[in-house]
């Protein structure tokens, strides 16, 4: 018998085919579609009408800088813009160099840039120029990235690693650097504060969590019981209490004569301590998923315990729990809204203080909708990033 080579059946594609197949395939589907559309319209019409006619979006426009950076000195705002421009440059370069692999991130960056520019324009704020500069930089460095030699890859990777410490340095400043006078953290606010807590908290809590997870499986009873005690203690109390405790107790634990850290630093310490316990449990889940045979193979090759952990077990464990780790990242991002309790002005608290201004009384809907969109937009980007990372690290895991 001869094998017959056949083409796969041709599938109809395109939006119309999709519509016909999914929404209008039978008479009752047509009916359901029309009913659903009518219902949606009825539900959304008042909201849309409100958003387009009644809403006083001026409250956002007038306080946009406040929402974004809080009390950050206005003459130092260029540092924030510089951070954003640097991000544009890196995104553009990566897009040009890695093409498809970095395209999604670049598109998110472009989307955000255009969205902010549009918001600026609509609200009659000058920031639209800055956002267009950011977008232009992204495109410009995309073009540059396309013609750069392959060597540029390692340099760009390094630049990404340096980006976050650099931004922290830019925003915080330091006494010994000219033009970068220190900005006390109690002036940080709004989205800037939210993002700084998120980034620093997440970056530092993950290594601590990994150590705790390894400690929990240690053969040394002291290490094991300390880790278990710490994790269970922290997981047994709400974040708010940890934030309070750190704010009030840290000064007591410091050696005499040492100045008390600023409130933001204390809050970040609280987040790190809290988040580490959760990351530890995430990582432990990954450690348990690594089969026993992997330990045995590593031991049989003569690898020492620490080498086995670092080279064989952790890479596999962490890869298995990327979704859980990102889940905790996102939780931390949203939990930053609690720092208002210890007197810090993150984006939601700024919103409430704006509502107290006499000329913007009663604009709750506008303010909270704005905050809602900011949180949601960033979380969508995080989620996308996590998915891409899973795909990229899933190589060979078939």
């Amino acid at each position: 018998m001869t094998a017959i080579e056949m083409q796969p059946p041709r599938l109809s594609v395109g939006p119309f085919a999709w519509l016909r197949k999914n929404l209008f395939s039978t008479w009752y589907n047509v009916l359901l579609t029309i009913l659903a559309l009518a219902l949606l319209y009825a539900l959304l019409r008042p909201a849309l009408q409100w958003a387009l006619t009644e809403a006083r979006w001026g409250v956002i426009a007038a306080n946009l800088t406040l929402f974004m950076v809080g009390q950050y000195p206005r003459d130092q705002l260029w540092r924030v813009w510089l951070s954003i421009y640097l991000l544009s440059v890196l995104l553009g370069l990566s897009w040009g160099i890695w093409k498809h692999a970095a395209r999604g991130f670049a598109l998110i960056g472009l989307g955000a840039g255009f969205a902010f520019a549009l918001i600026g324009l609509l609200l009659n704020s000058n920031v639209w120029i800055n956002w267009l500069v950011a977008v232009a930089l992204l495109f410009g460095f995309y073009a540059l990235g396309r013609i750069l030699p392959k060597r540029a890859r390692s340099i760009t990777s390094l630049a990404w690693l340096l980006y976050f410490p650099l931004v922290i340095l830019l925003i915080a400043g330091a006494r010994f650097i000219p033009f970068l006078s220190p900005v006390p953290t109690n002036l940080w606010g709004g989205l800037l504060l939210t993002l700084m807590i998120t980034i620093i908290g997440n970056v530092l809590s993950l290594p601590l969590g990994i150590l705790l997870a390894l400690g929990r499986r240690s053969k040394l009873p002291v290490v094991r019981y300390f880790s278990i005690g710490y994790i269970e203690l922290i997981r047994g109390v709400p974040l708010v209490t940890v934030l309070f405790m750190v704010s009030l107790l840290v000064p007591l634990f410091l050696p005499l004569g040492m100045p008390t850290p600023e409130a933001v630093i204390r809050a970040i310490i609280g987040f790190i301590l809290f988040e580490a316990a959760y990351q530890a449990e995430n990582v432990r889940g990954g450690l348990q998923a690594v089969p026993r045979g992997q330990y045995e193979a590593a031991q049989a090759l003569g690898l020492s315990g620490p080498l086995t952990t670092a080279l064989i077990i952790l890479p596999q464990a962490l890869r298995a729990v990327i979704p859980a780790i990102f889940n905790s990242f996102i939780s931390l991002f949203k939990d930053t809204s609690l720092v208002s309790i210890v007197g810090l002005f993150e984006i939601l608290r700024i919103g409430r203080s704006v509502l107290a201004q006499s000329e913007w009384l009663g604009t709750h809907r506008e303010v909270f909708l704005f905050a809602f969109l900011i949180y949601w937009g960033f979380n969508m980007a995080f989620t996308y990033g996590s998915r891409r990372m899973e795909e990229a690290m899933g190589v060979g895991r078939r």
Partner: protein
């Protein structure tokens, strides 16, 4: 076949006992292996044969008796254990390749981190070994992209990269599809002919006939019978050996 050094015992096991909780798995195993010998260990499942060879590189701890490998006694001294492990290669039933590393990285890992061999040199050795096991073209793939037989051959190359004096095989073909068993056995036969000291837990009697110097029949934690393949196949002394051989050779 290369010569066996009659003077040198590379593995000595004296009255080795082991318990899993209260279950007595190994009941006084006495066994000596000379340099260059190929030993086949066979027996019904649960007879302690895997447990025994896993004691030789301390993946399992024996609780009574003495095991001496290449002049070093296995004790709780972690230095001794790591020294012995880097001289003893092991191949597992389930391959146990590192799924997050490429084939080449799997083979280069231990030489670069344990032996401190330079990257260039260990890569060269790794490629030579891959040629030897017949799959140099798979060097940059991940284990998950290979067939079972190919994975097991990579596992053999990985163990050989440490230039071990002894190779342990724990049922190396039991997890393989029938058409892949031969490619792995061929590599093992070729290895046996280079004079490698090998301890092989297997039911592949064809392999035993072809290259084994001596065979040990394990049952219920004891060595029931031992001898050359000829003695074991032609003239088994014990009833249990006869019964077991008739069961595995009948079809």
């Amino acid at each position: 076949m290369s010569e066996i050094d009659q003077s040198q015992e590379i593995i000595i096991a004296r009255d080795v006992h082991k318990w899993f909780d209260s279950f007595h798995v190994l009941k006084g195993i006495n066994l000596e292996v000379k340099k260059g010998e190929v030993i086949v260990i066979f027996g019904p499942s649960g007879s302690g044969k895997s447990t025994f060879i896993r004691c030789i590189n301390r993946l399992e701890e024996h609780q009574k008796g003495q095991i001496i490998v290449d002049g070093l006694e296995l004790t709780n001294d972690i230095r001794n254990i790591e020294a012995i492990r880097s001289e003893v290669g092991m191949v597992f039933q389930q391959f146990n390749l590192f799924p997050h590393l490429t084939v080449l990285q799997n083979i280069m890992l231990a030489p670069t981190w344990v032996r401190r061999v330079s990257k260039e040199q260990s890569q060269e050795t790794a490629m030579q070994l891959l040629k030897r096991v017949g799959i140099p073209e798979q060097a940059n793939k991940y284990p998950g992209q290979l067939s079972g037989g190919q994975q097991q051959r990579v596992a053999i190359a990985r163990a050989l990269a440490m230039q071990p004096k002894i190779m342990l095989f724990d049922e190396p073909t039991s997890a393989l599809d029938p058409e892949m068993i031969k490619e792995v056995l061929d590599v093992m036969i070729q290895l046996a002919k280079t004079g490698m000291t090998m301890l092989v837990v297997t039911h592949e009697m064809g392999f035993a006939r072809a290259v084994a110097n001596r065979m040990f029949f394990f049952d219920e934690g004891q060595v029931v019978e031992s001898g050359t393949p000829e003695e074991i196949f032609k003239n088994p002394q014990e009833d249990r050996t006869k019964l077991f051989l008739s069961q595995i050779l009948s079809h």
